[in-house]
């Protein structure tokens, strides 16, 4: 199993896409901070306050913001790396060597966690450097450092929840092209299209029905249902906000986010692993 994990890392480090996606993600993270800073500056200029402009995008402030830039590229790389074994047929070298399918699945899981950590750190570093260049390092003390570590942990949990879904898709679809397509659709379009429809259906049709039946209403009260609350993607941005650690207002979001992410990790892993164990390899 340890050998398999090592060999999976060996494969990853020999993929050009690993470096290319990382580079683009880092550049975009830096550009994102640069663009946000420029927008602020433009707004100040519009109101004639240009002389008073002080950039809020210090290195420390930008650090957490940069984390989110990595997700699209993590999606792409995981979608290439996981089903790649099926595409090249190399899964036929791994399975017959006596390694359990659970071992194979978890080895990939560990490598994809590494991709998430590496890309997130890379983007955070790029954002930090850009922020430092624009407005200096900013206030930095031990507490902020600990907050950033905590934020990074939370962000990573949300990231792993998504990545578990992407990995499951890779094992289900077994084709890089289709997996990239489906995973990008999940990442980019699901919240804006499918989840909005679900919200509309629940709030417009289901909620009145539930409200009209007393016993059902007392058991399942539906008020302003938002399916986004039960989907890990929004928590990527929620968990990039340092305020979530300290303000009471955010505590329910933090708790719900932790549960939602954990549930997605477990469910996606169980489904992915179960199907991988049951399905034949062509």
């Amino acid at each position: 199993m340890f050998g398999l994990i090592k060999s999976d890392f060996y494969k990853l480090f020999r993929m050009k896409s690993f470096y290319i996606c990382g580079l683009i993600a880092a550049v975009l993270a830096g550009l994102g901070i640069f663009a946000a800073n420029a927008m602020d500056k433009m707004q100040y200029a519009m109101y004639g306050l240009e002389d008073m402009f002080i950039s809020q995008y210090t290195g420390v402030y930008s650090l957490a913001l940069g984390l989110g830039s990595a997700t699209l590229f993590i999606t792409i790389l995981v979608s290439m790396f996981v089903p790649g074994e099926f595409k090249f047929g190399t899964i036929k070298n791994i399975v017959p060597s006596g390694i359990s399918r659970m071992g194979i699945y978890f080895s990939k899981f560990i490598v994809t966690i590494f991709i998430s950590v590496a890309y997130s750190l890379l983007c955070a570093a790029a954002a930090f450097i850009t922020g430092c260049c624009l407005a200096g390092v900013g206030d930095f003390d031990r507490n902020i450092f600990l907050d950033i570590l905590e934020i990074f942990g939370l962000f990573l949990l949300a990231q792993i929840a998504l990545q578990s879904i992407f990995q499951m898709m890779g094992f289900l679809i077994r084709s890089t092209g289709w997996t990239i397509g489906v995973n990008i659709a999940i990442f980019a379009f699901l919240p804006s299209m499918v989840l909005t429809l679900i919200d509309f259906a629940v709030n417009s049709w289901l909620a009145p029905v539930v409200a009209s039946v007393d016993w059902l209403n007392s058991w399942l009260k539906i008020e302003n249902f938002s399916s986004n609350d039960y989907w890990p993607l929004p928590y990527l941005s929620e968990f990039s906000n340092i305020d979530i650690l300290h303000m009471d207002f955010f505590q329910p979001i933090l708790t719900r986010g932790l549960i939602v992410c954990a549930v997605y990790i477990v469910i996606a892993t169980v489904i992915g692993l179960w199907t991988f164990k049951k399905r034949d390899i062509d």
Binding site: F2, G3, L4, K6, S7, Y10, K11, R14, M15, K16, F88, G89, T90, I91, K92, N93, I94, V95, P96, S97, G98, I99, S100, K278, D280, I281
Partner: protein
Amino acid sequence: MTEYVLETKNLTKKYSKRAVVDNLSIKIRKGDIYGFIGKNGAGKTTTIKMISGLTNPTSGSIELFGSSDLSEGRKKIGTIIENPAIYPYMSARENIEVQRIMKGIGDKKITDQVLSIVGLSDVGNKKAKKFSLGMKQRLAIAIALVGSPEFLILDEPINGLDPIGIKDIRNLILKLTKEAGITVLISSHILGELMKIATCYGIIKDGRIVKQLTVEELREIVKPQAEFVVNDPEKARAIFTEVFGINDMEIQGNWIRIGEAVEKCDDIKRCLEENDIVISSVRTINDDNEEYLIKLMEEGEE
């Protein structure tokens, strides 16, 4: 006691209700080159996939090296199933390294050794995607050889190769069995090639094993014979016995069939003519092992 590397008992694979492999029982002795023969769709690859763990059997059992602990047994096998399974974005050396690291082999020399065995030592950093099919096939064999397997499973390893490539692979397999004592299960529908190396055969038709036989048994069954039609069969019989020492003989009217000394057919013919025997026709029959195996593949055992 005979040591078996592989033994399957009533191995069955069904898709929906159709049995692709049906109660298949085979035994492969240590050191054999087992030619697994069958038409396309006969169930060869499905059987190999079940042995390798890629496909779950519907029923039946598999034993590797006398044990039903397949995880352990599979650590001692090397496989090539259908197309060469390689990472196209890596060099030959890197492809081998992946397998070496995965199998937890610390000795890096193994990479050079297997590359040398398959004749890919001098390909440098060329990416595998730029290899010819023959080179890819040899690389796949090299990958299968990492970890010094005791049992090689090769599914159609010569498909798509040119005659030189086929010869290279054949020689390589012979070298591996001779020098490293590796047992080989090789499936192919290119019978002629298989017959140059196999020491025993399993013929599969519609998912069922039609016959298993060794090369010796095959030679015995498909013994070459010659038929002569002559004007004086009694005189011819005397010549066969006295001059050529032939006892395996059958006579019906003017027709004589001999099962010995068939290779001396020209000498026999000359001798009969010198003794004033008129020969109406001479033909050798059943001298083609390939024909016999094809017949089994197509029609099953009579």
